[in-house]
Each structure stands twice: as C-alpha cells, then as structure tokens.
Symmetry: C2
Subunit: 163 residues, 2 copies
DNA sequence: TATTGTTATACTCTATAACTATA
DNA sequence: TATAGTTATAGAGTATAACAATA
C-alpha cells in the first residue's frame, strides 16, 4: 500500500493509528495470513483447473482412506450443497470414485489412480514454494504455529454456545 | 465427527491415517482455525445484516482514520470490484461517508457517527464470545499466535515470486 | 422419527478484463 | 504514460429451506 494513503495524518511511514488495533483481531489475522500464503500456491492449482475447495478435497483424500461427504464437509470447510457439486465435478474428471458403504445414506468417495497422480504432481510442483515460506519463517516457528492453530480449533469446537 | 465415518479402518476412535497429514497443511489449518472462531462471531454481524467482508471494512475504519479503497482492499482481503459494491452498500445505510482527498482518483472513506455506533455496539455484543475463546485457549498463547500470524504474513508478503 | 445427502434458490464473493478519470 | 477505481461478466461458493432416501 502507498504511504500517501495516510497523508491525512502526520505519522511516520507505515505507522497508522488503526493498524495495530486492526492486527489484534484474531479472525482478520487468520484471514490475512492465509491470503498471503495461499496466494503462492494458487497458481499451481489454477494450472490444473482446480478450485481451492476442490484442492482441499483431493488433499483430504490423499492418503487413500475413503471418506464420506460429512467428514469432507467438516475437514475441508465446505457446506454440503457446495460439496455435492464439487464431488460431481471431480468424479466427472475421473479424479475420484464412489465407494459402497454399509450405510447406504453415506456418499463415500476415494481418489482414483488419476486423482492420486494429480495430487502427487501438485505436491511436487508446489514444493519449492512451500520450502520458501518454511525457510523464511523458520521451521521451528512454523511447527509452533501449526500446533497453536490446531489446538485453537480443537478447543473452540468444544466450547459450548453462549445462550 | 461421527466415529463410523471411519468404520472401514480399524483404528482407535478419532484417529485416522489422513488426519495427521492433513493437519500439517498450513493453509488448511488457517482456514479451519478461522472457521471455528469466526462461526461464534457471525451471529452478531448477521443480526445487523452485515456480511463478514462488510464487518471487516467497518473494523478497519473503526479508529476514525479515513482510508482509501486500495488500503481497505489490502487490509480486509477484498478485491476491488467487491469493495466498490461494499462501500456503496455501507454508504447507502449511512454507515460511512466519502472524504475528499488531494488526489481525486482516490476513493477515501471514513465512518459516520452511525457507523461508529454500530461498530461499538457489535464489539460490546460479541465481547463475551471473544473472552470465552481467549480464556479457553489462554491469553498468553493467543498473544503468541497473533504475533506469529502477523509475522508470517509480513515475511510472506516480502518474499520474491518464484520464477 | 432421526440422519445423510441432494436439490432449489437467492445472494455474495471471486476473478479477469475493459473502461473512465486523474495524476 | 501510469495509477486508482469502477463497470461488466462469468463462475463459484455461501446459506437456508425443502426434499428424498435410508436407518
């Protein structure tokens, strides 16, 4: 952002009254951290005509374990109507296939060989970007950050709703 | 999550092969942490008919400092075409007003008294939820997390693009 | 009767390009 | 000529409710 965006105030370059307060917002900090890191990976998924939610679904299935729609919705942060369309689109491209399940209500899917190959290819292609961020930030801090993020989520999900 | 979602495997409850790997994804961890915390605040903005991007704009302007559209786009993680509509909607509700600027190309806005009052009201209403998360997670860890998130963003934004 | 997922619908945001106004 | 925003347009996700199928 340009410095003269704040020309109305007489503060030093890069220092604005609102900035510090704004950065104390957890949800905004999470969004901005995600935006700045995700932006570097997006071109790889774009090149494969995968939207980011589609990429999360492939990732969630990457270890080969079949998952049902409900689990995918929760892990990938996608609402059921969106997931229905996403699963259909990925299945039409031959990237995943339905798996029969004892409970016929469940829509259970797994990656096909083609889907697994596409996932592996994307991991390889984006590896340099991942390492670039990892090294600039520091592996130890990255580990701490991931642990804090997962812990925050687990604790928050267990909290009772207020009123 | 239901335990029988993983009935195909014979692993202990809550332990799935994919889970650990999936949780090592930074961008997914950021998304899920945001979803679990944001969900608790959303009802307050919903009650005021504010979308989350609109709420971020009010928040960015909350200290009274006028900001231009470009700065708002960056701080609120909103693309220019979306911001144009958001500023129009908020102005029509009398929550913000345009401020004249030396550079007539800039769309500079500030909160009106009504906008500031709505912001303050939302902060008060959501205070219990904020404290609930803060106390469950721990203030010290929350502080560490916020610092790591802001540092990660600043470092990542400065990284050169690969190729 | 409760649960899982799909369909329907309306709205918003995302994303890119083309355009206008100003510097 | 470059910059800041707006407009245009297509596409995808968000969100709620209603519905179908299964348990």
């Amino acid at each position: 952002m340009k410095a003269d965006a704040h020309a109305l105030s007489a503060l030093p370059e890069g220092v604005t009254p609102g900035k510090d307060y704004y950065e104390r917002s957890l949800t905004v900090a999470l969004l901005r951290a995600r935006e700045s890191t995700m932006r570097r990976f997006k071109r790889y998924s774009d090149a494969q005509n995968l939207t980011l939610p589609q990429w999360r679904v492939l990732r969630a299935l990457a270890d080969g374990e079949p998952l049902d729609a409900g689990t995918l919705c929760q892990r990938c942060v996608i609402l059921p109507p969106s997931l229905t369309r996403i699963l259909r689109a990925l299945a039409e491209r031959g990237l995943l296939a339905q798996v029969t399940c004892n409970d016929a209500r469940r829509h259970m899917v797994t990656l096909t060989d083609k889907g697994k190959a596409l996932f592996d290819s994307l991991v390889v292609q984006s590896e340099d970007s991942r390492r670039q961020i990892d090294e600039a930030f520091g592996q130890e801090k990255m580990q701490t950050l991931l642990d804090l993020l997962n812990e925050l989520r687990e604790i928050t999900e267990r909290l009772p709703d207020l009123d």
